[in-house]
């Protein structure tokens, strides 16, 4: 058995201290140690984006990130994203546009969309959205409604 590594980090605005195996992924820590299951496991190798989280302001695949590397950093999951003004706009826009079918990719799409809106703001056009979600696979919708939803959420309401 590997000895555990004790790490402290900010998770959705709250300080957390947990012990993790050195080879554990951030995704496994979130789901199995902490019990936040909004972040999804799908491919496990960085191809699909269902596990996307934001770490220190940048979106990452949590399945590719070692949990021990969260130490001292700020991690935001979909549960934290929906508590932000942009997250609320995204949630409403996904519902309005009908951008959810089976829903498995939705948390990852929303977290990546939050990253895109935070980094590009109102200049986030459809081409930039398509490029920005290249790392997020959806096998139901054909993406059009997801792009519609993110485009709508990128424009703050009057």
């Amino acid at each position: 058995m590997s000895p555990k590594v004790e790490i402290s980090f900010t998770l959705n605005g709250t300080e957390r201290t947990v012990a993790v195996a050195p080879d554990m992924s951030t995704l496994a820590m979130l789901r199995e140690v902490i019990g936040l299951t909004g972040t999804k496991y799908a491919c496990g190798e960085g191809e699909c984006g269902a596990c996307t989280v934001i770490v220190d302001g940048l979106s990452l695949n949590s399945c590719l990130m070692f949990a021990a590397d969260c130490d001292g950093r700020s991690v935001t999951t979909v549960e934290g994203v929906v508590d932000t003004p942009v997250g609320e706009r995204l949630r409403d826009a996904f519902v309005q546009a009908g951008a959810v079918q089976c829903g498995f990719c939705t948390p990852g799409m929303m977290v990546q969309a939050k990253h895109l809106i935070d980094s590009l703001g109102a200049s986030l056009d459809r081409e930039a959205i398509k490029r920005g979600i290249e790392g997020n696979l959806c096998r139901c919708t054909g993406y059009v409604k997801i792009v519609d939803a993110i485009a709508a959420a990128a424009q703050p309401k009057e």
Partner: protein, 287 residues
């Protein structure tokens, strides 16, 4: 093997000290290490040394006629670097074609080089630009460094000349001369998250209609990224005319040593090399 020690040093000296015992696995962005360790392809060593907090390994600076790119510079940071954009446009372009937004935010240049994939996206432009890697170790208590040309550093798929106690600290790229011409091309089936069927990188100095100091790098057509000596000789010092371009494209096709795999057959890769070198050089001649 299970990991019995995990360390996350903040200084280079401490990182090299942690690697002295051997059997250490270096963790940076993790984007290759995580799937490779989970699948058993690269089992983790007894010590896991997370170097991501080592301050000396971050940043891009111009010094002594070369760009010094810290090993921990992420692909996203390379794309945002004004120095890379201005002096090494083909490196920036290769980064645009690198995996996805999420992976570019985590993956590091040092990691991409040490992963030594024949299709590694940054390797082809770096070989074309004549890059070298800087390696540091602490064999007898004192830090020692050496520099190895990138084209010699990578020796096979996943294999490099890095010794077990060494850490790749930086990639050094000589500042391209005035009149530098650079081109990059990657062929895959989609723009994002695609592994190259082939990629090409060209760097040269233009004098009128003539190219000098030509380096043509080919990716995913041999066990390592390679240069095409035949194409370089065909181009060097000759005016870029139709016959010269055709000779260079044919020589590049003959130099390539591709295999057939799920992404393309060997024949198709050779034809791609010929056709895309021809297109690239025609574009340079007309530009």
């Amino acid at each position: 093997m299970t990991v019995d020690t995990y360390v996350a040093p903040k200084r280079l000296d401490e990182a090299l000290e942690a690697m002295r015992g051997g059997r250490a696995t270096i963790l940076a962005g993790g984007t290759d290490l995580m799937p490779q360790s989970q699948s058993g392809k690269t089992p983790l060593g007894r010590r896991l040394v997370n170097v991501r907090r080592v301050a000396e390994l971050h940043g891009v600076v111009l010094a002594n006629g070369a760009l010094h790119i810290g090993a921990l510079t992420t692909i996203s940071e390379l794309m945002a670097s004004e120095l890379v954009r201005r002096h090494l446009p083909i490196l920036g372009e290769a980064c645009e074609h690198f995996a996805s937004s999420q992976i570019r935010n985590a993956a590091t240049l040092g990691g991409n080089v040490c992963n030594a994939s024949p299709a590694g996206d940054t390797l082809v432009p770096l070989v074309a630009l004549g890059a070298a890697v800087e390696l540091a170790s602490k064999p007898n208590g004192a830090v020692s460094t050496r520099t190895v040309p990138l084209a010699e550093f990578v020796v096979g798929p996943g294999r490099t000349r890095r010794e077990p106690m060494e850490l790749l600290t930086a990639v050094l790229v000589p500042l391209p001369a005035a009149g530098s011409v650079q081109r990059f091309y990657k062929f895959g089936t989609r723009l994002g998250l695609d592994i190259s069927a082939i990629s090409l990188g060209l760097a040269a100095v233009r004098e009128g209609r003539t190219l000098r100091q030509v380096r043509l790098a080919l990716g995913a057509v041999a066990p390592t990224p390679m240069r095409s000596p035949g194409a370089e000789a065909a181009l060097e010092g000759r005016p870029l005319e139709t016959g010269v371009i055709e000779a260079a494209a044919a020589a590049a096709r003959d130099d390539a040593r591709p295999i057939s795999d799920v992404r393309a057959s060997a024949w198709y890769r050779r034809e791609l090399v010929h056709n895309m070198v021809k297109r690239m050089l025609t574009d340079v001649a007309e530009g």
